[in-house]
Symmetry: C2
Subunit: 306 residues, 2 copies
């Protein structure tokens, strides 16, 4: 715990970033936000934050820079692009990077930022928008003691649980990558299981009740199958997130020469779903590929769709 | 609940059957056991049970016949083989069949037994040896009210939870089959995830700690990864069980024309493990295939193997 009030440059006010920024404001920190979406900036200002036109402008005089963007390309742009923060952020100040990125990218980023005079906290998040809003995220992190010391007040404000996985940037991203391997495989497997059971004549709701109390259960099965039963694919996390994250998983496997046949099969299912035009839907919409292949509907059998 | 004391013919005194039979004895029922392994019969007699030389001999004058054998071929043999129980079991008495078998086999078996004058309770089990020993199994069952009424005292003695999934034999086996799809995929995915993380440089025990508290968790991940970390493949459930059960899953998908790419990939991993000579090891030994492919050892990195 710390009573330091920081001036925080915060890039990426999306579904998770905005909630995090609000929790930082609530703890008395100053937040200077940057997002391409003007509504996100307006929402931050309405909560007492400030906004800036570019990462460079936000980073000037900041005590810390937090990135909650989508992927490695955006991280690159925010830090080293034309209006990038590096160069403007005062020497010695921490960069806390929260996007899910390739572990190797994080390792290299740590070296590049060290050369520019900044410690990197490799800090991918888990918990989704709901936990971001309540300040109860899980952080899978790695970095030097110096990076942690500078980020401590930020972690206090946004996270319920911080896993400290080592001194080297990259391990935090690796553990998040492994988590996404399992999350993606489990969502696709949940869809596959519900498809087989329903097609072969089981009542989908009874199937859900039994499996979610049996050895076949997973966190994702319990959480996502209700979306399938209701045919409600309002995006909480989208199909395209898993197209990206399982892609990252497979890239990592390729890099270290580790074959990943289940992740590869699951990635193909999410690719099929985005190819079918369902990329922006909730990731549970991967079940629609199984339904299409099998010519039936889980939700219809569950009594939800006409 | 019932105070009826039954005379129960019980075929299959293996890792689950013996515990179940002992719980039946403890409730005051008479149990006449049959198993090819003389040690199993001796263990039953030591607990106050009787044994018979054949299913036919055990079934004569029995109130119910319970089968806890390995697969459909054994069920066929026990019921309809040369020394089979059908014909000897008194008319009208229930057959409770607990093996994991193809759902279509169970459906057909229900019709064949009905023609022979016996109701069938389709009653696959979940919970493993530990729950069998404590009388706390989960039963995924279907059958007529008549079948349930006759099996009630048996279910009371062996199960903590009985899912009643319908009147028709086959649905119980189908739900168990779907559970096995997920269980098998989740074990292989757990191995794949531990392999990727370890190969890429994460500490395997830290990885286990983080994932088992995150959205990537599954019942199987929590339960089986400790075997991988310890390199201890003492069989609780064997690789060959999943070679069989995922085979059943794929047969069922073929029968109803539902493609199952994740189950197919997982099945290949278990086939590789049995091809490598590890079929009798604990199912968590599927990780050894990933280790072999990746030329490393999870347990060694976890500090367990030299």
């Amino acid at each position: 715990m710390t009573t330091n009030k920081l001036r925080i440059a915060f890039v990426g006010l999306g579904s998770m970033g905005l909630g995090m920024a609000k929790n930082l404001l609530a703890k008395g920190h100053a937040v200077i936000g940057v997002d391409m979406n003007p509504d996100a900036g307006a929402a931050l200002r309405a909560s007492g934050g400030q906004t800036a036109a570019s990462p460079r402008a936000a980073a000037a005089q900041a005590d810390a820079l937090v990135l909650v963007v989508v992927n490695a390309a955006q991280v690159e742009q925010v830090l080293f692009g034309a209006e990038g923060a590096v160069g403007a952020l005062p020497q010695g100040r921490v960069v806390m990077q929260c996007a899910t990125v390739p572990p190797g990218f994080s390792t290299a980023l740590g070296e590049r930022l060290a050369a520019a005079g900044h410690p990197l906290l490799d800090a991918p998040l888990s918990g989704g928008r709901a936990r971001a809003d309540t300040g109860e995220l899980t952080v899978m992190s790695s970095g030097t003691p110096q990076a942690y010391a500078q980020a401590e007040a930020i972690l206090d404000a946004v996270a319920a649980k911080v896993y400290r996985l080592g001194d080297a940037p990259g391990i935090g991203s690796l553990v998040k990558t492994v988590n996404q391997l399992l999350a993606g495989v489990h969502i696709a497997a949940a869809a596959e299981a519900m498809a087989l059971g329903t097609k072969a004549g089981a009542d989908p709701r009874a199937l859900y009740e039994v499996i979610s109390n049996s050895a076949g259960n997973s966190w994702m099965f319990t959480n996502r199958v209700p979306h399938m039963l209701d045919g409600d694919f309002t995006p909480l996390s989208a199909v395209d997130i898993f197209v990206k994250d399982l892609g990252l998983v497979l890239d990592t496997g390729r890099e270290v020469k580790q074959p990943l046949p289940l992740a590869a099969a699951a990635h193909q299912m999410f690719l099929m779903a985005t190819a079918a035009g369902w990329g922006k839907m909730d990731d549970a919409a991967v079940v629609k590929i199984y339904e299409q292949m099998g010519a039936f509907s889980v939700a219809e059998r569950a009594g939800k769709r006409a």
